[in-house]
Amino acid sequence: MTARQRNNVRIIGEGTRPMIFAHGYGCDQSMWRFMVEAFAHDHRIILFDHVGAGGSDLSAYDPERHGGLQGYADDVLEICRELDLRDVVFVGHSVSAMIGVLASIREPERFAKLVLIGPSPCYVNHDGYRGGFSREDLEGLVEVLDSNQLGWAGTMAPVIMGNPDRPELAEELRNSFCRTDPEIARRFARVTFFSDNRHDLPRVTTPVLILQCAEDAIAPEAVGAYVHDNIPGSRLVRLAATGHCPHMSAPDETIRAMRAFL
């Protein structure tokens, strides 16, 4: 199996400069819709789904490899190698910001720039560090996942899927975007939210742009500042956009900030 098949890679755009977009936890490559519109005319855009998400090959999920963010970073590097990408602009949202950090540390020569949207090196509070969440909060997330993916909709979906003559049933029940395999989603949640990559930040040598939203419940401003302080030479832009997904809620502002950096 090629990395292209494994990660459902799509290549779009008229430009030559490669720009790879890595989606965050809970979503898939469809979240980059507005960014693709903005950058396709002068970039070669590479979209992909992490294994377990979207149209990726679920059979490629390896509990050991994907039991840590480095495994996901290695997936990204394999895509880059397979497509022979150089001078890559890596745009990573949320957990994929750290995945990009790890990939660039392993093969710095491959990356020209990193754009980290809502990055957090560590979601759990530690002594003197405010990640924003306690362990109990994050265990609560797993419960919500279970309720949503193993509950009625999840239980009934296979039954409805067994009625191919009535596909509308499935569409009504399921949220058709950002589908994930429930079991992989559970594990990816743990990998995402229990990782601690604070010590990796100073090892980044690639130029970095940090996009920090106002009132981001997942990656609060203090966390963005922490990332900025610990990646030498990084640039921090505080967006007026609120929430955790400025590339969706405030695409224009996000595109402007990225253009200025690139």
């Binding site: 965050g24 609560g140 949503n148 929430g243």
Partner: protein, 408 residues
């Protein structure tokens, strides 16, 4: 205030009244999560006043911490991408900190330029449904566990059946072998018996003839008598195999018997081979015909010599063993003395081993063996209430074990 409806008229309903008292909680929130509007049902369910929420709280603040993460990572992107979300399972936190399960649907309301302006969220009280889901999940888990248990049972059942079938096949094979040996024994025994009588008649007639012969004739007759005696020795062995010989079982001290037979065994084993004896003195006595046992050991020594043309070691030992029910050799449960002769010779392959105790079967060149040595040992062991057990592999030597009952 509206007037109470006149008799016969329908009760008054307004859109406002439907909104406020719908069986759903309605919320309008900004794309930043700020609560812009909430209906009376929501206030009743959560215990908040409108003033506590509208323009004050953000919707994620009504969620648990895990729910807030899910809102940012799943619900928001879904609303942006598909304009709606369906049946999101959430725990809603009431003003007093308690929670209730809800199902949330959401729709994006757009401004004049088509940009998302508000999210209209509806919440359905899902207490019963969540409880039902939990039961459903538990039932599914139980069904999966039961299926797994059944699968395991089937697997072990197959294994049990296979083991049992193999055990029975082995037992049938042992039975067939025993029946064959029994038939051979009866045949051999009756032939030997008749033959022995003939030899007896020949011998007595030879003795009479001897008295009436001259010196030269007596020499020939003496040769004839020796041949008859050899014939008698052979028939004795055949009788032994057929379990028809007269035995005189006594309490036999195996250590004493084996030590006493050392010279005899060493001579049978021949020069160039070593004899090792390992019979503890404190064994209980065996119930067996001492002379026949000695003869049996001698036969085994001769066989060992034949199996060790380049020299080797014969070890004769004895141990106290017990047989449980279902012994493959057909031993009754109880204590036995196992007298074993182990050589370091060429061993036997499976086919040879299977026939080794049959009468007249021999691996020795024609004229060198009667094929009655092991047969005699087999007959002795069986007639004494024990059994013969052979164990051998090519190149690994042979162990011949005679199981004998302990003298009561």
């Amino acid at each position: 205030m509206t007037q109470p409806p006149s008799p016969g008229a329908l009760p008054f309903e307004s859109a406002e009244e439907l909104y406020e008292n719908a069986p759903f909680a309605y919320l309008s929130v900004g794309t930043d999560g700020q609560i812009a509007r909430a209906n009376r049902t929501l206030l009743a369910w959560t215990g908040y006043e409108a003033a506590d929420l509208v323009g004050v709280k953000r919707f994620p603040e009504l969620l648990t911490a895990g729910g807030r993460i899910f809102y940012e990572t799943h619900v928001q992107p879904l609303l942006r991408l598909q304009g709606t979300v369906n049946e999101i399972a959430y725990d809603i936190v009431r003003a007093d900190g308690t929670v209730f399960p809800a199902l949330m649907n959401g729709t994006v309301l757009r401004d004049g330029e088509g940009r998302p302006a508000l999210y209209r969220l509806t919440l359905l009280d899902a207490s019963d449904r969540r409880a039902f889901e939990r039961e459903l999940q538990a039932a599914r888990r139980r069904a999966e566990e039961a299926g797994e248990a059944l699968r395991r049972l089937n697997e072990t059942l197959e294994e049990t059946v296979r083991t049992e079938v193999e055990r029975r096949l082995r037992a049938e094979e042992a039975l067939r072998h025993a029946q064959k040996m029994e038939a051979l024994g009866q045949l051999t025994g009756s032939v030997a018996h008749d033959f022995n009588n003939l030899l007896g008649a020949i011998l007595s007639n030879l003795e009479v003839a001897e008295r009436h012969s001259d010196e030269r004739g007596r020499r020939f007759l003496a040769n004839a008598v020796r041949s008859v005696e050899r014939g008698e020795a052979l028939t004795q062995r055949m009788l032994a195999f057929g379990r028809k010989q007269r035995l005189n079982p006594t309490r036999v001290d195996l250590a004493g018997l084996v030590t006493g037979a050392r010279d005899l065994l060493e001579r049978s084993l021949g020069p160039g081979n070593r004899l090792v004896l390992g019979v503890p003195e404190d064994l209980p006595p065996a119930l067996v015909d001492a002379n026949q046992l000695e003869l049996a050991l001698m036969n085994l020594a001769v066989n060992a010599r034949h199996a060790m043309p380049d020299g080797g070691t014969l070890t004769v030992s004895a141990t106290l063993e017990s047989a449980a029910g279902g012994d493959p050799g057909g031993l009754a449960p109880g204590d036995y003395l196992r007298v074993a002769a182990r050589d370091t010779g060429i061993g036997m392959d499976e086919a040879t081993l299977a026939k080794a105790a049959e009468p007249f079967f021999t691996t020795k060149p024609a004229g060198q063996g009667t094929g009655l040595g092991l047969s005699m040992v087999h007959g002795l062991a069986a007639q004494s209430g024990g059994r013969l057990a052979l164990d051998s592999q090519p190149g690994e030597g042979t162990v011949v074990a005679i199981w004998l009952p302990v003298a009561g």
